[in-house]
């Protein structure tokens, strides 16, 4: 009998997460054994809010996700976070799976984070970087992809300087693709780990005010970040030199605030973007000193923040430019926490992408 019994009740039962508040009265427990019947009963459970979360096939950009999927990833990461701090810090979940880190653009931090995330889940990791690989010998992107496919990798994590490269890869390959940053386009895991970090500090983010400061024009982090924050209901303000604001920024669903000092008193989060010197091919602002004076976060500005407000940065920081050492090392800075949380969030994404067919079973054990 291969037919799966699908009852209206089972998704609700599966999603009832409530961690069991204990009732005051004790012994009235004896469960009534209802004899075999009920195809469509399910009265007790089906009323739960349980909307099914759509399964993930790839993680290419935040714009592919809906709010429920974002929350599901964050909730999963929340449960995975303690594993990293345990004495035995790996779980066997993805044993035998091969995750390929295809890094066509330099990024030590992101690669190490993905590497550790995969290893904590017992996956094998192949690191493939542009330098010293077939790519530097002139192999095309498509041929590289097909080679990886032929080697039987189960997931490709791709970082590329070209916007859209991960989506193209997803067309070539049948395995899940994770975008680890593509050009100016998207950096979804960074946005997810940031939202995760904010949620851990502030709780529900609906109505919270996040101020994003800096180079929005070149920043894939900012694009993903704004989309993720909109999905969870946060209000986003952006502050930047006019030359570093994207032309269509009004359509991002953000408020443009002209001065950093005006934005700070209402902020729950100040998110500082890196001044990306490598992308500054023309002069976008007069000098580093002027940037720091107008758009940089320093001790004086730190004291304008509410007590509970936090300061974030995707790293690597340019101390003395967008952030001073005093701010980076202050109690309100959660920058190192972002790094730790990044591993848990990437574990969650790998888990949801790689452990995933589509049938729900509750009774069968």
């Amino acid at each position: 009998m291969t037919q799966q019994p699908r009852h209206a009740s089972s998704p609700a039962a599966d999603a009832a997460t409530t961690p069991a508040t204990t009732p005051a009265t004790t012994p009235a427990t004896t469960p009534a054994t209802t004899p075999a019947t009920t195809p469509a009963t399910s009265t007790a459970t089906s009323t739960a809010t349980a909307t099914r979360v759509a399964p993930l096939h790839h993680l290419l950009g935040i714009d592919d996700l809906d709010a429920a999927q974002v929350v599901h990833i964050l909730d999963t990461a929340e449960q995975l976070l303690p594993i990293a701090t345990r004495e035995r810090n790996t779980v066997p979940t993805l044993r035998g799976k091969v995750v390929c880190n295809l890094f066509l653009e330099d990024s030590t931090r992101t690669r190490i984070s993905f590497d550790l995330a995969a290893k904590r889940l017992s996956a094998e990791v192949l690191n493939f970087s542009a330098k010293g690989s077939s790519v530097s010998k002139g192999e095309s992107f498509k041929d590289t992809a097909l080679t990886l496919d032929a080697m039987g990798v189960d997931c490709v994590v791709v970082r590329s300087g070209s916007s859209g490269a991960p989506r193209q890869l997803a067309r070539y390959l049948d395995v899940p693709i994770m975008n680890a940053g593509d050009g100016w386009h998207q950096h979804p895991t960074q946005a997810l780990l940031d939202v995760f970090t904010m949620r851990r500090h502030l709780g529900d983010l609906a109505g919270r005010r996040v101020v994003i400061v800096g180079d929005l024009l070149h920043s894939r982090v900012a694009r993903s970040e704004v989309q993720a924050l909109n999905l969870v209901g946060a209000q986003v303000s952006v502050v930047a030199p006019p030359t570093l604001l994207p032309p269509e920024v009004e359509r991002w669903g953000v408020e443009v605030v002209p001065s950093l000092d005006d934005a700070l008193p209402d902020a729950d989060v100040v998110y500082l973007l890196r001044v990306q010197r490598e992308r500054m091919h023309r002069a976008f602002f007069p000098s580093t000193r002027e940037y720091q004076r107008l758009w940089g976060m320093d001790g004086r500005r730190l004291r304008q923040l509410k007590d509970h407000a936090i300061v974030m940065h995707p790293g690597p920081m340019n101390r003395g430019v967008e952030i001073t050492g005093e701010v980076a090392d202050s109690d309100q800075s959660v920058i190192t926490e972002q790094v730790t949380n990044g591993i848990a969030v990437r574990m969650a994404c790998l888990y949801l992408l790689l452990a995933a067919p589509a049938v729900d079973e509750e009774a069968g054990r």
């Binding site: 009998m1 037919q3 019994p5 009852h7 009740s9 089972s10 039962a13 599966d14 999603a15 009832a16 997460t17 409530t18 961690p19 069991a20 508040t21 204990t22 009732p23 004790t26 012994p27 427990t29 004896t30 469960p31 009534a32 054994t33 209802t34 004899p35 075999a36 019947t37 009920t38 195809p39 009963t41 007790a44 459970t45 399964p55 599901h72 909730d75 999963t76 449960q79 995975l80 303690p82 345990r86 035995r88 779980v91 066997p92 979940t93 993805l94 889940l121 888990y351 949801l352 452990a355 995933a356 067919p357 589509a358 049938v359 729900d360 079973e361 509750e362 009774a363 069968g364 054990r365």
Partner: protein, 164 residues
């Protein structure tokens, strides 16, 4: 039924000394909490109780939907204690195998006992429960669901026959 199981556990352990109850997420947890409270009342002591999520240790990942993860939180060091695993339904035994692996990551208990509310048969692994609330013969394809007040609003065991 839980009261009887509580007494059985106390008898087998000669008291509540060294016991820690660990409920398997999700329906095992409220059952473990109730058992811990009952044992505590009977023995006049506090019995520690924790939660174990075995999803990451299952052998059927990739065959079935990845379940939502729930908390693993055991408040005491299990090393040197008697861990009582609590689950709602014992069926193939695969959940329990996963639970043994998951517990192993947390420490080295002196011994591990298994308590289930319902044993419905059809074991696929050499695993049996030490204490059973009720043996409930079922067909392999039936679906047995234990509902608990805490999450489902009522206490019940529901058996659903698969339409032929």
């Amino acid at each position: 039924m839980l009261r009887r199981l509580a007494h059985e556990l106390i008898e087998a352990n000669q008291g509540a000394e060294g016991l820690v109850l660990v409920g398997i997420q999700t329906r095992g947890l409220p059952l473990a909490q109730r058992l811990a409270r009952l044992i505590g009342e009977i023995e006049g002591t506090e019995v520690p109780c924790g939660a174990l999520d075995v999803t990451l240790y299952r052998d059927d990942l990739g065959r079935r939907a990845p379940k939502s993860l729930h908390a693993t939180d055991v408040p005491v060091d299990v090393t040197g204690r008697t861990v009582v695993l609590v689950d709602d339904v014992l069926y193939t035994g695969r959940t329990i195998r996963a639970a043994l692996d998951a517990l192993n990551e947390l420490g080295r208990p002196d011994r591990i006992r298994l308590v289930v509310l319902v044993d419905r048969g059809h074991r696929e692994l050499p695993i049996r429960a030490d204490h059973v609330g009720k043996n409930l013969p079922t067909a392999y394809d039936d679906r047995i669901r234990v509902l608990v007040e805490e999450t489902d609003g009522q206490d019940a065991v529901v058996s659903e026959e698969v339409p032929a």
